[in-house]
Symmetry: C2
Subunit: 290 residues, 2 copies
């Protein structure tokens, strides 16, 4: 199953998930000027980042919002980025946060698990309920695909609805977690995790310890490293036995060149160095915890 | 504000929102065979439906999942459908159910409120909290745009998370409703509704009466007519003074031709007749309620 492939990639390359949230403004001018179209600018920047980081990153998360914002040209760059990642046998998380029911959910599965926008994992928003997740199950069982369902995010607004407590004191995100942990039993990998992962923000340590304990079979996608305030220590809380999750950094890696004088010229190298530093920091913290 | 335009359209044309959830399988073979590309097939089918229904429909909802599932060709058809709707001054609801925070939310706003995929309203998933809604506010105030936020849906899974009750007995969807009603006060139209509408499924009558009473300023997008089990009576519960909401039907209208012998030939006319029947049924029920 795809989750075994991801588990193995974490063992070999570490926990870093490189987030390709690529905005035109992030691309150094000198490099951007080499290309005429938005499609070529976005794709070639991504290609450089992929080439420079793929041996130190277990997977890549591509945030479709950035590409959608450039219309068809942006989506052509999205498509080519996914194709390039697949060609090089990298694991792709399509960060699309789709959530809908019945035939619409089936169409989203078709859109992001087959054809031009094929990815390995897609992110899912569970608000509408389990029938917005179940339509993806055939792809998990038969097509080597996986999901990351939003459970507990690290933004301020997470306290609006995710942390509403029911009469027994359970948080909404706990109930989401329980249900995906349970559904995941139908899609277990050999590594001990299911193909239904959870998105768990990495800034709330207290919640993290409890969630990691309760969701034994659930592999975590942990955003919020760097730019959103979380660090290696926080991220490590969500890892189990040094595996069990990947940690995403987008701007932290893509814009690493901005921290270096005249860094634009070697932006991909600086991205690589940042990814290595992040990988080592998380490995160190997660070993300290074991 | 855009909500005033929609309110006026409901006054003039009725409550029907035509759902362009267009699957290749829905297009009559004889018509489909006239065109070579997926893009042309999807767009031209939509064009016929739009031409046949625009004088009896207050707005059109375009479900992007269907188009995404056909890759770039599908999204070209999506883009052309939106362009055609805009050209003819029809109100567009982009049913994208996006939900993300910070810069990603800004990118989704840019994607669906400007440029090639420009629409008038977009649907939003509130799971991550109010900071996944607030980034759209500048577009509501300055660009004549609007939102429909998922509140209470009519699918079976709505009972998984939306109807979790907090310690005071309030449902999650009530809390979502309250917060969007309150945020909406910053984007009120002259018609008495705000530019932040709510998606409210139309099969739960009891909830409907209460929700309509509590969310005074919130205009409703009511899906679930026909195919999903709701009828004119149920829909009317969610309307106030004969306005206050639009009722979506997708397959019911697009596939109306299947109920008629040899209906394929005049599929657009059958779609029109279905929309008129639906319009009249809802008008009748909503007048009975006033």
């Amino acid at each position: 199953m795809i989750i075994d492939k991801l588990y193995k990639a974490v063992e070999e390359k570490g926990h870093v998930c490189v987030g390709l949230d690529t905005d035109l403004d992030y691309i150094p001018k000198q490099f951007s000027d080499k290309f005429n179209s938005i499609e070529d600018k976005l794709f070639n920047f991504n290609k450089e980042i992929i080439d420079a980081t793929e041996d130190v990153a277990s997977c890549f998360k591509v945030q479709i919002a950035y590409y959608e914002s450039y219309g068809i040209q942006g989506l052509l760059a999205y498509k080519r980025t996914l194709e390039y990642l697949r060609e090089k046998n990298n694991i792709i998380i399509a960060d699309v946060k789709r959530g809908d029911i019945a035939k619409t959910a089936e169409m989203y599965a078709k859109a992001h698990f087959t054809g031009e926008f094929e990815s390995d994992f897609m992110t899912i928003n569970p608000y509408m309920g389990m029938d917005s997740i179940e339509p993806f199950m055939p792809y998990l069982k038969n097509n080597e695909k996986g999901l990351f369902v939003l459970v507990r995010t690290s933004n301020k607004g997470a306290s609006d609805f995710e942390t509403i407590q029911n009469k027994e004191g359970k948080f909404v995100h706990d109930i989401v977690g329980e249900k995906i942990e349970s559904l995941g039993k139908d899609a277990m990998g050999e590594c001990g995790y299911s193909a239904i992962g959870g998105v768990i923000g990495c800034t709330e340590a207290e919640d993290g310890i409890r969630i990691r304990k309760e969701l034994k079979n659930t592999f975590f996608l942990i955003p919020g490293y760097g730019a959103q305030g979380g660090g290696a220590k926080e991220a490590a809380i969500y890892l189990k036995d040094g595996n069990g999750g990947v940690v995403n950094s987008s701007r932290g890696i893509l814009l690493a060149y901005k921290k270096v004088e005249n860094g634009e010229e070697n932006f991909a190298l600086h991205a690589r160095n940042e990814a290595i530093e992040m990988r080592d920091a998380i490995r160190k913290c997660s070993k300290e915890r074991i």
